[in-house]
């Protein structure tokens, strides 16, 4: 009876130890997977923030401030990648989280900047188009009037001329 209890206890302890061992490996693998996916998300967030910044720049916005913050996010992302490569999952996940926060704020600021730059560009375009159309019309009218005045004067001058008789005899 005592032997049976002892055997059961040992078996139970063995099962417990094995379960502990597997759960430890399971949690380590899960930690690495989570850190890897966080770093992947940070990478995507930084790319999206950069694409939004590029769009804002193409729309004519000044993106110097955004580029500074992107460099901050990029530095943290590089640290996260290096930490992940060195097996430091918790640091990698923490850095990835920081990076995502900065990248998302850059992206939303870039979208706002782009919208305001597009508005401004549209205003400038319509102002310059109005200036060009009005000034070209005025210039054409003035040029036409000057031409008519000049033509009239030229014809009058021609009509007022007396014919000259010339001889080609030497």
């Amino acid at each position: 009876m005592l032997k049976r209890v002892l055997r059961a206890s040992v078996s139970f302890l063995l099962v417990l130890a094995l379960a502990g061992l597997f759960s430890h490996s399971f949690f380590i693998v899960r930690g690495v997977d989570e850190a890897s996916s966080s770093v992947g998300e940070a990478d995507v967030a930084v790319r999206q923030a950069f694409n939004a910044t590029l769009d804002a720049e193409r729309a004519g916005a000044n993106v110097s401030g955004l580029i500074l913050r992107l460099n901050e996010a990029g530095g943290i992302l590089a640290e996260a990648e290096i930490a992940l490569g060195n097996g430091n999952s918790s640091e990698a996940a923490s850095k990835a989280g920081q990076c995502i926060g900065i990248a998302q704020s850059v992206k939303s600021d870039a979208d706002v900047l782009k919208a305001s730059a597009l508005d401004e560009a549209q205003t400038v375009f319509w102002a310059s188009l109005t200036f060009s159309v009005v000034s070209i019309t005025a210039f054409a009218v003035v040029l036409m009037l000057v031409w008519r005045w000049f033509k009239r004067g030229y014809v009058r001058k021609m009509l007022g001329m007396k014919p000259e008789v010339a001889s080609d005899e030497a």
Partner: protein, 199 residues
């Protein structure tokens, strides 16, 4: 001058005037092609000059170089610089085929640069677990900017140049928004390091 000649003069003046007055709008609509697009990658010594590069290196001593990137691509650009370490038998990037080195990067820098701007970042490195047995040198660890990496590289004694030569090199990668991916930008810089002093 005949009246027809004056007419041509007036037409020319009119055309020039119209072009001048339309130039503010044309400037917004027409985009002329810019100059040549390129990026630059360089490595400088500890004084930000192309001199005093670390060459004879020893274990336990920290060395400093600066890695610089210049952007002339016509718009803001996202770069990654990968730092790699090799012995004489391992491959460098192939600039003819545009292929990067197959070695895994140890360290990386991520940089965002506006057009016509550049950036220089410090790269400190030190070696540990260095040994030399029977004409063979082995480097166990390389720390870059304080981050340790196990490298385990070995080289044979180079009798011609009298030293154990390793190479630290940096590859430039560029982000392409169209494909949403990075590609090797076909630029790399390297420094030979002679480990003789530490043996």
């Amino acid at each position: 001058m005949k009246l027809e000649d004056y007419k041509i003069v007036f037409a020319a003046v009119g055309l020039i005037g119209v072009l001048i007055l339309a130039s503010p709008t044309l400037g917004l609509v027409l985009h002329l092609p810019g100059g040549e697009k390129f990026s630059a990658l360089w490595v400088l010594g500890p004084g930000h000059m192309a001199e005093d590069y670390p060459f004879n290196v020893t274990a336990g001593v920290s060395y400093l170089v600066y890695v610089g990137v210049g952007n002339h691509m016509g718009s803001s650009t996202y770069y990654v610089v990968y730092v790699k370490f090799r012995n004489e038998t391992e491959p460098l990037p192939n600039v003819t085929t545009g292929a990067p080195s197959v070695l895994a990067p140890l360290y990386e820098y991520r940089m965002f640069l506006e057009d016509n701007s550049s950036s220089e970042v410090p790269l400190t490195f030190s070696f540990s677990n260095v040994s030399s047995v029977g004409g063979q040198s082995t480097v166990g660890n390389l720390a870059i900017n304080g981050v340790p990496f196990g490298v385990d590289k070995s080289v044979s004694w180079d009798a011609e140049n009298s030293g154990y030569f390793y190479q630290l090199f940096m590859e430039l990668w560029i982000y392409d928004p169209a494909s949403d991916g990075f590609s090797f930008h076909n630029r790399f810089v390297s420094r030979w390091l002679n480990m003789t002093a530490s043996v």
